[in-house]
Symmetry: D2
Subunit: 329 residues, 4 copies
């Protein structure tokens, strides 16, 4: 439930307005050089407040290493990173407690947890939790020597010119979504398992764990559904597994085939739009006009690439470790 992975295993915890959020990682190889500074570049990429369209909330996002690191190296014991919440304005949320924000988890959380959920700033459902995912990704990337993962925002609000897409949202006083492409180079062939633990299954599992992701496709993806077999099939070039085209996105039969892993994800527009909306007041049963309080991104997709990379890294680090064990005798 709050953990993911078989050997490289990530456990998330925390709430948006509680003491902080964190991650504990199991299966970290001993001897990896690692300091707090190593986390900062990716954490910086995830941070809000730096470009138009991101939230003015600025957490320090400083990674406190609580376990698993000693003398600047991983020890092999569980590695825990904690981020304190220092910049919290819960009062924004208290006021509108009985009015679930459209597009947010407020209503389902209230229903599922019987009213005991921490509702401040989406509580445990907050995208604040992704800071722990990014931290885990930093560790995973260190295991993936020679493998590069690059996620790029390719479209915002339907525009390939991202600035233009954002401006559209600003002009409309609304929020927008976007598309992200991820490409992994240097991935060894053979990772993944047939059926349940196909590379696609695990990557998609991780991607849909990112708040706001609503679609995932590999290689030609949805376009594959309109291609002919002779057009879609990737012809092998040589014994390294290299193919002439890469419609498969680097995965056949669930297994990495040595070509770049390529996939694309759709991010819905930020649920917290500045627009006036209608919602239900669950105490009165009445519909009410409603405007979201709090500090939010116009486009969460802006901050998502580094999270997509981190998630990809978690999955691949796990598969890489497993492949060391389950190789032919």
């Amino acid at each position: 439930m709050n953990s993911f992975g078989r050997l490289f295993r990530v456990t998330l915890f925390g709430e948006s307005h509680g003491p902080g959020v964190g991650v504990s990682i199991d299966g970290v190889l001993p001897g990896i050089a690692l300091t707090e500074a190593d986390f900062l570049p990716d954490l910086e990429r995830r941070k809000g407040g730096l470009q138009k369209g991101t939230t003015p909330r600025k957490e320090d996002d400083y990674p406190l290493l609580k376990s698993g690191v000693f003398n600047g190296h991983t020890t092999g014991a569980p590695l825990t990173v904690f981020f304190e919440n220092n910049n919290v304005r819960s009062a924004d949320y208290e006021k509108q407690r009985a009015i679930p924000r459209p597009g947010h988890a407020d209503w389902v959380a209230h229903y599922k947890y019987g009213g005991f959920e921490d509702y401040r700033g989406s509580g445990h459902f907050s995208a604040r939790l992704t800071v722990g995912i990014v931290a885990a990704g930093v560790v995973a990337k260190k295991i993936l020597q020679g493998i590069t993962i690059n996620a790029l925002l390719t479209e915002v609000g339907g525009e390939a010119d991202i600035e233009k897409g954002l401006q559209k949202a600003i002009d409309a006083k609304d929020s927008v979504g976007g598309l992200i492409s991820c490409r992994v180079e240097g991935l060894p062939a053979g990772l993944g398992e047939p059926f349940w633990d196909s590379v696609e299954s695990l990557i998609a599992h991780a991607m849909f764990a990112i708040p706001a992701v609503k679609g995932v496709e590999f290689g030609a993806g949805f376009r594959a559904a309109v291609m002919m077999g002779s057009e879609h099939n990737d012809a092998l070039e040589d014994n390294s597994g290299k193919t002439r085209t890469n419609h498969a996105g680097g995965i056949v039969g669930g297994i990495a085939n040595g070509n770049p892993l390529v996939f694309r994800i759709a991010i819905k527009p930020t649920a917290s739009t500045p627009k006036m909306q209608q919602s239900l007041n669950w105490e009165t049963g009445a519909q009410e006009a409603f405007s979201v309080k709090g500090r939010h991104d116009l486009c969460v997709a802006l901050r998502a690439p580094v999270i997509v990379e981190a998630m990809t890294a978690l999955v691949l680090a796990d598969l890489l470790l497993i492949s060391r064990s389950l190789c032919p005798v």
Copy 2:
């Protein structure tokens, strides 16, 4: 690796041209009325040879109940269903052993398993394994009382008129893919977990375990990326969780919100196209003209809806069982 699910847990095994394929299911509640006949309708839906575009291989697909059923009811012990392979023509595959079929798992299987893979008819990678998934789905559906799951083929080869899409492939002597829509009604709100075990994560995990699936989207899916927040957000109508629109596809914050669960998947064209293709001969290193032998579907998407339903049922049965445990005190 060959298992999926937390409480309702499905283990697959078998090969296309070995003794048979099977499934063992854990977490089956005792007392469910179940006979071999209950499996036949869904198995029939999955079967080839019945309409144009499906393989002429006709297995009896008769479900042999090897464990977990007694006196016409489930016992609570692991339930195993086995399907014998009676209609096997392995010689077709022996001949072209050194030439991996484009779009198939031949090369990755050979690489991953060091040449020890059972290559006949794709071995363990064969879609024949999905007969076990369908069987598990039959059991899962029995647990999902009052919940209906319907998967429909909505497009073949880019055509909403399915017959027309198939004819296109027949005319071109090629294979085609398709789109499948799945809709679940009656799903209780509250299923799923934030982050790792979001309903989307688990459904997508299962969908990408189906051979040939290359894309999955929920609700508005990829279209969400071009919507504005105020347009995408689903406004709550009443305390039952019902929303005016359902762009979220029934899931918010990873949790079922009481509205229909709606998702769509893309199926690539059958890798085994009748067209002449090029591939590598891994013994000689030469490129060779190549035509797929064996009996195959022109469009695997035709047989996929019942598999999609089964996979959906496995995930939801598991989540339903978990929700019985983890409800508020």
Copy 3:
């Protein structure tokens, strides 16, 4: 629930008087030479009817390889072994359905599964299921190159002279238990994890999954509780990890230390004693005099050593695979 292991993962199914019992094993390395004949020696050791004190029921116990083996080698796909039940006399059990046999799982199975359990010959609770464990052990032992596992019956009915212990039971027309010692040589140091996955935790977990095991101790075991620290501590001899004594039984801090792994288990007397006993008739609520029907061992401990070895092999194969992944960078 019916599976055990992280990478080398064993799934059991079947009932005593159903179609058969089986095991499906995940995480089997490809390329291991394996035929049905390889299973026979260990299966023979487990078999009843060969010496005084074992059940006259003689199953052929022939291992049918249903998946995962091709051309005399493992393929890397899930390996399934099935054993048909050919020698079944269920009528013995039908008669006394309402009278749970003392010491057996009859009452708890009835209670837990709401009366839907397969009660014939203990159903899924039968020691017949251990044939699948032994089969899995055969595969595991092949992975454990250079590691030898020997389990010995050291005491029956309190007698180190096993024949004498058995005769005691025969004379008393009663059943007896016994003690088994297991010793593993050649185990590399470093296997196991601190806390949850200590070698002791995993071995004990597996041992207590064997029906009739009621105690497990490692090294000095219960005797350790009366030793002084200076007496119990094993002094290191050299950098290989070898210690002068081995009171720890080869495990310190949950981790194998390179010395022989040594443990001992207690097996209770066979619940099915020929003696007249009292039990409850759950239909009438009356106490009834009761004599066990069916064919049973006077001392199940006689057949247990090969099961103990198999269980040990499963755990160690899993730990060995994991250790290949989680070694220092």
Copy 4:
């Protein structure tokens, strides 16, 4: 690896002389009243420095609730408790780095983690980690309404008079072990699963995860091996499952039978004896006379009962949650 449990799942992390130790718990039902004060009684029981034979190191052991609690109740989100290390004297350990302490994990940790282990105060292997186990136990006990768990120290250094056993150690300037009995009343029948997840398997798994435990037995335990079947079998008294005797210790066929769950564990003497010992200097290869520095218990068994209770509670809470799901239809 650092997690245990299926639904109620406990993740441990931390080191003896790092920033602190902690536990993150998944599967905590929402709505349980819980404050930091609730943890103090059990934490107090575990604490050293209070009676003769326990270590003079006094941590505040104050439980910092980092996630999962809001307004004095559990929220249903992962619950994390952190304990800062405030009272650390690492220099004691630095001095004797190259001389692994006999009976400790120093050598295996060094070997397993390639020299990257945090060696100060046993690092991640320290019994300090059990503070997190006790905290998790406090939460688990709240789920186990109407079930009482009592663990008692019944013997120290071979003496039923505990004071006398301790005095023996003090007089000998050595350390001693002990025996602990645990008894659970009010446990509903039906918990546990046949084979892998038998109650005995899970309890033993958890017990052997406690540092220094070297033996576990249920009911008659090792004595069962010398009993006759007619003597050992517990006769059913009535339809509630109550038996006349309880040699089975409340478990038959791996399933709780409604009688008290009874088991006993052996704790080895504290590895850190004040006595002069011999060990290897792994830098010089020479044997050296060696005396343990640092602050330690003469008898770790004194602090163990509350840890045994906690571990028992974790296992039973998990089984109780599972039983809510997997009950007959």
